[in-house]
């Protein structure tokens, strides 16, 4: 598939204390490590996103460990209540150590 590419959908504005929905999606093969190559018969090494963290102004807002049974292109949705304007940072950690990230500003009124 295409390159590994993170995407998020975050409202630009929010009201203080009101729950807002954050949607995230990353295109990723999530290779489980259980499959065999049909030609060589060898196991295809595991390569999954194993951790997802969202921080708001440096403080952790949501985090999640991902396991091999999660399908390709993991979609994660969660809600947060915010009290001040700031930046939400999303980080996906891959098995090979690479980190994919996105930042989004939210204005809280």
């Amino acid at each position: 598939m295409a390159n590994i590419k993170p995407r998020v959908k975050v409202p630009k504005k929010a009201k203080a204390g009101e729950a807002i929905v954050i949607k995230t999606l990353i295109s990723h093969p999530m290779e489980s490590g259980q499959r065999k190559d049909s030609k060589t018969g060898k196991l295809i090494p595991r390569k999954i996103i194993n951790k997802f963290v969202a921080t708001y102004n440096g403080k952790e807002a949501f985090s999640m460990d991902l396991l091999p049974a999660i399908a390709a292109n993991p979609y994660i949705e969660f809600s947060v209540k915010l009290s001040e304007s700031g930046t939400m940072r999303f980080e996906w950690t891959d098995d090979d150590g690479s980190v994919y990230d996105i930042e989004n500003k939210i204005t809280v009124a």
């Binding site: 598939m1 295409a2 390159n3 590419k5 995407r7 959908k9 949607k23 999606l25 295109s27 399908a71 292109n73 979609y75």
Partner: protein
């Protein structure tokens, strides 16, 4: 024993099932504030009273996935298509964008008119044929396989530029012969179950074949992300699936038969909005 089993299966296929999975009849497909035509009164020469997009036959949950581009898994493929559009390929080192520029202008409306007669090649071109022709002719690149990720991504991306526009295929002139061939295929019984397309999609749409809710077989959303496939697929892949189900020997993807059938089916859905890339189950 085998015969008995087979008979039982046919009986099951023809039995009209409950309407348990019917979606809300009045739901409308609205994406980014734009309402799509998923239902319209059929013209007098149509076999239908109302032309209905396949979207209307899906459950509420499946329908909902198409309402938001962020949640529509087909958009990942369309975005990959955009990357390919801008990537140079072939001996001449040209990308699609080098000649065609911004796809949102140059490719606007193309999906709605496909399949279309090609003057140079004197044949009917599906969108896939067009892409491969352009790759060979202008990019000097290797043609993509019909069902490759690249091809499906590119048809999704090009199709996306026509989203919301009404299906408007030409069936006169040199295309007429193809249209008639497609119509003949549509009504010809084939396979062990001896069924034609019309038996399910014209006489029985809205009914259940076991767990499947039969649609009119409209193709305005292709290529689609199909939940059953866990991925994207072309119109011809869907045709092949249908033919396998009635235990017929399917034609090849990209064959004249399937392209003719594609034209005939598109003409039965004239006026429906292009939904590419849609989501089906």
């Amino acid at each position: 024993m085998r015969k008995l089993l087979a008979l039982g299966l046919v009986g099951g296929l023809l039995a009209v099932g409950a309407q348990g999975v019917m979606a809300d009849e009045n739901a409308e497909l609205v994406i980014d504030g734009k309402t799509f035509v998923t239902k319209l009164k059929a013209p007098a020469d149509s076999p239908f009273d109302e032309i209905l997009s396949g979207w209307r036959f899906r459950t509420d949950e499946t329908q909902a996935l198409q309402l938001d581009d962020f949640e529509n898994p087909a958009m990942i493929s369309a975005q990959y298509g955009e990357e390919l559009w801008n990537t140079a390929d072939g001996a001449d080192g040209k990308s699609c964008a080098d000649c065609h520029g911004d796809a949102s202008e140059s490719m606007k409306g193309l999906r709605a008119q496909m399949p279309k007669w090609h003057e140079g090649k004197k044949t009917l071109f599906a969108l896939e044929d067009h892409i491969n022709w352009s790759r060979e002719e202008h990019q000097k690149a290797k043609p993509w396989k019909w069902e490759s990720q690249e091809m499906v991504a590119m048809t999704a991306y090009i199709g996306l530029q026509s989203r919301g526009m009404p299906v408007n295929v030409k069936i006169d002139g040199p295309a007429q012969e193809w249209w008639e061939k497609g119509k003949e295929l549509y009504y010809t019984r084939v396979g062990q179950l001896d069924m034609a397309c019309s038996h399910c999609h014209e006489n029985n749409y809205g009914n259940m074949v076991r767990a499947d809710h039969l649609s009119q077989g409209q193709i305005n959303g292709f290529p689609v992300y199909r939940l059953k496939w866990q991925g994207m697929g072309s119109i011809h892949r869907r045709f092949k699936g249908c033919m396998d189900n009635i235990r017929a020997t399917p034609y090849k993807r990209g064959s004249d038969e399937f392209t003719a059938l594609e034209l005939y089916l598109a003409s039965r859905g004239q006026g429906l909005s292009v939904e590419t890339p849609a989501l089906r189950n």
